[in-house]
Amino acid sequence: MKIDNSLPLEYSTEENRLKILGFWIFLAAEIALFATLFATYFAYQGRTGNGPGTEIFEITPVLINTFALLTSSFTIGLAVNAMRLGNKKAMLTFLGLTLALGLVFLGVEIKEFFTFVHEGATIQTSGYLSILFSTLGTHGAHVSLGFFWGLFIIIQVSKYGLTPHTANKAFIFSLYWHFLDVVWIFIFSFVYLKGMM
């Protein structure tokens, strides 16, 4: 394995560069996935059948979630920065902070789902609610997956140190996490804010 020391660790081998580009292409595919959810969501707006519509939204949990994710996106950016400085301790701290904020997000979202269900809005109630839960749920599932992924990276970095391999993983994970933040911004704007307009 040839290591090019002029580049940051995560780019230092050809394999690493392949993985980063491959992941960008994967993220593009994810854009298509969420676009489908949004397209369906927009077409189903108002198709509430006998169930409730957007009046079930509450602003407080949504704001908490938005700020949690935005901040976590900031902290993971700092984690990558720390990694490039070779500061393993700071990197792990920021990664840990990111995952903690992710947990806050998941907790609030799950509580929100319980509130919805309590108000008689389930995934089976109407076309609108099916797509609403699917859109939020797909994003939530991505965050949950990201949480475990991040956990594994923390373990691996502490165990093997900052190698081209672990650095590459951590960087790719940061791309994923930022992307989830972007998706959330669109959900925040076009599902919640538009719904509460």
């Binding site: 077409a43 189903y44 108002g46 509430t48 059948g49 006998n50």
Partner: protein
């Protein structure tokens, strides 16, 4: 080589068969202006396409015959040619012109068949609700207050508005000799504009696969003069039983039935899912609450 000639001969044979002989194909045997428009459009495009096929095939055969290795000297080295901007522009431009022409034809004919036929705009259209259920067609005449199953009488020279919907899977309502088809769906009503300009018997069908009985979901279409139509309506009213809700539910459950006639229509107790998806249009609505109410009403069938 033989294959291409056989093919060409076949195309010509078919083209002649299509355009006229004693037993024309259903699509080319129009009994109304909408079907005639479509038939003309199709025949026009067949000729254009045939011309394209002939030109390309001739060029193709020419290349094969002239440049085959067995005809070439042993030491012939084919040249290296990158391409030519002029030639390539020409063969980009020609298809663009053809497509542009066909686009105009499409839009014009589409507007024609999606509206009341030209020349009949001031005649009041006859509205017939045609609904599909496994695997029958129900025809409700709300004004005449009668309903038929698996056959439909229509007056000639009067615009027909078929309002289509379905009690189950998507079905496609098609009377090839009167015009094109359109889907009948469960959650909305689609409208098909037809007109018969000569009396006669035709067939219509559900052309969309909708489960195991769809091959048999056919119906008869009888175009008669307006006077005869009035007569038929009167007779149907006089001789038929009324359509009750129980009777209709039973009918929905039966898979295949013959021709039936009733007085009254099922629209009274089982109305069509009127409105289309644009009921959900948020664009011009300031007030969400109003919208929600409207949709509630709409979905309470």
């Amino acid at each position: 080589m033989k294959m291409k000639w056989t093919l060409l001969a076949l195309i010509f044979a078919v083209a002649t068969a299509l355009t006229g002989c004693e037993n024309p194909l259903a699509v080319f045997d129009p009994k109304g202006p909408q079907a005639a428009t479509l038939s003309d459009t199709i025949i026009l495009t067949i000729w254009i396409m045939l011309a394209i096929c002939v030109v390309v095939t001739v060029a193709f055969i020419y290349m094969l015959v002239k440049y085959r290795a067995s005809k070439q000297s042993k030491d012939y080295e084919p040249p290296h040619i990158e391409g030519s901007a002029v030639v390539e522009t020409i063969w980009t431009a020609i298809p663009i012109i053809i497509v542009a022409f066909l686009s105009v034809v499409t839009v014009v004919s589409l507007k024609d068949v999606e509206a009341t036929p030209k020349g009949y705009e001031n005649k009041e259209p006859l509205v017939i609700y045609a609904s599909s259920s496994n695997w029958k067609w129900h025809f409700s005449y709300p004004e005449e207050n009668i309903e038929t199953v698996n056959y439909v009488y229509v007056p000639t020279d009067r615009p027909l508005e078929f309002k289509l919907y379905s009690y189950g899977p998507i079905s496609s309502f098609w009377i090839p000799q009167l015009g094109g088809q359109k889907y009948a769906m469960a959650d909305m009503v689609t409208t098909l504009h037809l007109l018969a300009d000569e009396p006669g018997e035709m067939w219509g069908r559900n052309s969309n696969f909708s489960g195991k009985g769809s091959a048999h979901q056919l119906f008869d279409v009888q175009a008669v003069s307006p006077a005869e139509f009035e007569e038929w309506v009167e007779e149907a009213k006089a001789k038929s039983e009324p359509l009750t809700e129980e009777k209709f539910d039973e009918l929905l459950k039966t898979e295949h039935v013959g021709r039936q006639t009733f007085t009254g229509t099922h629209l009274e107790f089982s109305p069509a899912p009127e409105g289309s998806h644009n009921m959900d249009d948020m664009e011009n609505k300031e007030d969400m609450e109003d919208m929600e109410d409207m949709n509630h009403d709409m979905d309470h069938k």
